[in-house]
């Protein structure tokens, strides 16, 4: 097990926050937060809500978020919908194909912890945090578009503290 320096990259990194790169990091993070391209991993009802969030009324484009269909060109992976056992390996491979600094938003209670199908269903995976590290959980079934945009704001708060060569905060954020 490599000793995690937190930034997810295998570079041998120092442990404390980096003063030298602070101001540059702030500027780079401004760039990242204003151009957060998301991979639309839409499976079920939350997928329709994610699509309606991207449309004309709750326009994610005005926040600079473009829907991308290829994992290589995406920064954040929004897992929207129920993940069954058959689908689980795809979530993992798509996450691994994404380019570094990547983040994950788990949208909807199905992705958070199995949602309405967690008790009696034999085929639904209870929560995608068994597969990939999740940064933001957005509750709701399906969550309203405003809740999803609130989730992206919380993620932006985390990205503003992201340091290329420092500790990466991996503790999950839950939107009330």
């Amino acid at each position: 097990m490599i000793e995690p320096n937190g930034s997810g990259s295998t570079l041998p990194g120092p442990t404390g926050p980096q003063v030298l790169f602070a101001s540059v990091d702030e500027f780079l993070n401004w760039g990242r937060t204003n151009s957060l391209w998301f991979l639309q991993f839409a499976t079920a009802c939350c997928g329709i809500e994610l699509m309606q969030t991207g449309c004309s009324r709750f326009d994610t484009d005005h926040l600079g978020m473009l829907p991308r269909s290829s994992p290589r060109a995406a920064d954040v992976m929004i897992v929207a919908g129920t993940i069954t056992h058959k689908m689980a390996s795809r979530v993992r491979t798509l996450w691994e194909q994404m380019a570094e600094p990547r983040w994950v938003i788990s949208m909807g209670s199905c992705a958070n912890a199995g949602g309405p199908f967690s008790k009696y269903s034999y085929s639904v995976l209870n929560g995608i945090d068994k597969l990939i590290p999740v940064d933001v959980y957005v509750p709701g079934c399906p969550p309203r578009p405003e809740a999803l945009i609130d989730g992206t704001e919380a993620l932006k708060e985390r990205i503003r503290k992201y340091q290329m060569f420092g500790i990466r905060d991996t503790e999950a954020i839950v939107i009330e």
């Binding site: 056992h85 034999y122 995976l125 068994k130």
Partner: protein, 180 residues
């Protein structure tokens, strides 16, 4: 055409076809598996029946189904219920085939007759374990390939893990319903 007149016609052709009436008024024609294929063929081709559309094909696990006598069950049986509809005459009918609930459970596939049956049968093969010889692609439809057991059976025990991840979340007891 009334249901019992239709049944009369079929009775003439195939004597050992029986018909039961449930409390909800649903009339089910019970057809033994041996002659089921020819019965299905005549239901489709015979101009008097002309059932050209298979509306719905559902599997049924009768092992826990209560008989008329209180407190006693039908016995280890699986059933396939075919709901047929005729566009020409406009009448609908419900045919069911019962099979013992073990590895040898198999019903001849009606895919050559009603082409939609292919997917219905694959689903019942996957969720109930009834084999359908003659189906063009007899693979599991819903569950992953390496899944063990047939989930929709009444006595199905939920698995505790699948491939690499553990299914139960901490502090959650996994029940598979009052019948398990």
């Amino acid at each position: 055409m009334k249901n019992d007149e239709l049944f009369g016609l079929l009775q003439v052709l195939y004597p050992d076809v029986s018909s039961t009436v449930a409390e909800t008024g649903e009339i089910q024609w019970q057809v033994p598996t041996g002659i089921f294929l020819e019965v299905a063929r005549t239901l489709k081709d015979d101009p008097r029946f002309a059932f050209d559309s298979l509306m719905c094909l559902s599997g049924l696990d009768l092992s826990k189904y209560p008989t008329a006598v209180k407190g006693e069950f039908v016995g280890e049986l699986l059933a396939c219920v075919y709901h047929l509809h005729s566009f020409e005459h406009g009448h609908e009918v419900c045919v069911s085939v019962t099979v013992p609930k073990d590895e040898t459970a198999s019903i001849p596939s009606v895919e050559p007759i009603w082409l939609v049956a292919g997917y219905f049968e694959r689903e019942i093969l996957d969720l109930y374990g009834i084999a359908f010889p003659g189906n063009h692609d007899p693979r599991r439809l819903m569950m992953p390939e390496d899944w063990i057991g047939h989930p929709l059976r009444k006595d199905y025990q939920y698995p505790s893990n699948y491939s690499t991840w553990e299914l139960k979340r901490e502090g959650q007891n996994f029940t598979s319903g009052p019948y398990a």
